[in-house]
Amino acid sequence: MPSTPKPTESPVIEIRDLHKRYGDLEVIKGVDVTAHRGDVVSLIGSSGSGKSTLLRCANLLEDSQKGDILFNGEPVRWSGHPRRPADPSQILRIRTNLSMVFQQFNLWAHMTILQNVMEAPVTVLGRDRDEVEAAARSYLDKVGIGDKCDVYPAQLSGGQQQRAAIARALCMEPQALLFDEPTSALDPELEQEVVKVIRELANEGRTMLIVTHDMKMAADVSDHVIFLHQGKIEEEGAPDTLFGAPKSERLQGFLASTMAV
């Protein structure tokens, strides 16, 4: 599945020269990412290289110091200092079209799993409660925790929580999805399920940014892979070329360990 830019449409997600710092620590140092409709873009890189931060910026959860973020060609309007998104209705429009699976899951502790999944579609999108419930149950079944509908997050195993978080994102049926290490707590079998789901989503035309440590998965699902190193893009390209013939030394070293065993 080679990356096929569709020049007639503007990209769903476009990040231009983004800079972000926490206090004195510069975490993102000028990063560009473009993802068109149906694109799956993977972000790889070592721990602490800024992958989660980049996703959080894309979702407007973090302020950033410099650079642009565009959705469907529409640039985010900023204001203030430190700058932050200026237009609440724009933020809302963007976020309802964009679902995120957090690295720490962030399930709402006071709601059952089913409520967690149903909450946003019902409250934010105003969809019909019964319809949403049916959809939520089917998504929970899809990720294999249909029997855990009525328990609270604290009673789930790590992998079950992660799957609930994925179901929650899917149930929004958004234009684009942001996955932060969506299979970190999953066994290979379930990982395959998730890979299947991601492929289906891409076929439906949804755009995805995926942070992952799993090179096989990155190679498997992506149209485009970005290797982040200390807040900068060290190398990027189609998975075949990137994994097959890495150019930069850093990436070669990084990939060497994957093959080591």
Partner: protein, 290 residues
């Protein structure tokens, strides 16, 4: 010269008026109130800590004692408590001293309505100078306040201890910490974040309870403000005036507001230090503001 009629209506009249020995007593009582708070707060915290720890103790009688203390003292309005507890406390002390010092005393302690202990058991001794009596009264007031507010503090701390995420304690156990170590190293340091808002509130309530001090026999600022502010006829004072309680109470209001403001600033600082780097909305706001 202060009562010189020619000086009435002048600034110097006010200067004289505000420096009468009676006003000095008012200013002195500000010190009394402040020192009472300064001693009561740590004492109440200590009572609270003791109450909270015994309420979660494994030893059943101790747990009952802790829970009973919290439930009963917390259940009684402070006014009602003050109206009879100090006298009871005082009698209690004298009764104990009487048992120790005058074991051979022939007469009963209760004679009709009277409560009579031997002279050596009196608290303070009948011969003691007035300031000893006042200090003793002050001490009783502190103790009463500490017992009352200790119960509320115990409840806040008890709740805060339960708010610390269980995983944090479990981890400590997994690393071999004894319950005691877990308590002191993990639970106690973490509970403050959860306890501070409640304790801060309690401190505010405590400040606001000082007007009840006069029920305990301590002449506090409100007592003096009432006394000074009430209408005065020329027969009993060199400074007759109408009902000026409005102004005195306004002064009190300013005093309490200022005091609250200072407390808030200090509590805010504390809270900032406690939430620093924590994964909460407060910690996040602090980070984003930086």
């Amino acid at each position: 010269m202060c009562t010189d009629p020619s000086q009435l209506d002048q600034f110097s009249w006010l200067a004289c008026y505000l420096t009468t020995p009676k006003h000095m007593a008012l200013y002195w009582s500000v010190g009394t109130v402040l020192s009472l708070l300064a001693i009561t707060a740590p004492a109440a915290l200590l009572f609270g800590f003791g109450g909270a720890t015994s309420a979660r103790s494994r030893i059943t009688p101790l747990r009952w004692f802790g829970k009973g203390y919290i439930a009963i003292v917390r259940g009684v309005p402070d006014i009602a408590f003050f109206l009879f507890f100090v006298i009871a406390l005082d009698q209690g002390f004298e009764w104990i001293r009487h048992q120790v010092k005058c074991p051979d005393w022939p007469d009963p302690i209760r004679q009709g309505n009277d409560f009579i202990v031997c002279a050596a058991a009196k608290m303070p001794l009948g011969t003691a100078p007035q300031w000893v009596h006042e200090t003793y009264g002050f001490f009783l007031a502190v103790l009463t306040f500490a017992i009352v507010f200790g119960a509320f503090a115990a409840n806040v701390l008890y709740g805060a201890m339960r708010s610390v995420p269980h995983a944090q304690l479990e981890t400590a156990a997994a690393y071999g910490m004894t319950p005691r170590q877990t308590f002191w190293r993990i639970l106690v340091p973490q509970m403050w974040v959860y306890a501070l808002p409640g304790l801060g509130n309690l401190w505010m309530v405590l400040i606001k309870a000082t007007p009840l001090l006069f029920l305990l026999g301590v002449e506090d600022i409100v007592y003096w403000a009432r006394e000074l502010g009430g209408a005065k006829t020329a027969r009993f004072t060199d400074y007759p005036h109408a009902d000026w309680r409005m102004w005195y109470f306004f002064g009190l209001l300013v005093f309490y507001l200022l005091f609250t403001r200072v407390s808030e600033v200090v509590l805010d600082r504390l809270m900032k230090r406690l939430t620093h780097g924590q994964a909460t909305v407060g910690g996040e706001a602090q980070r984003k503001a930086a």
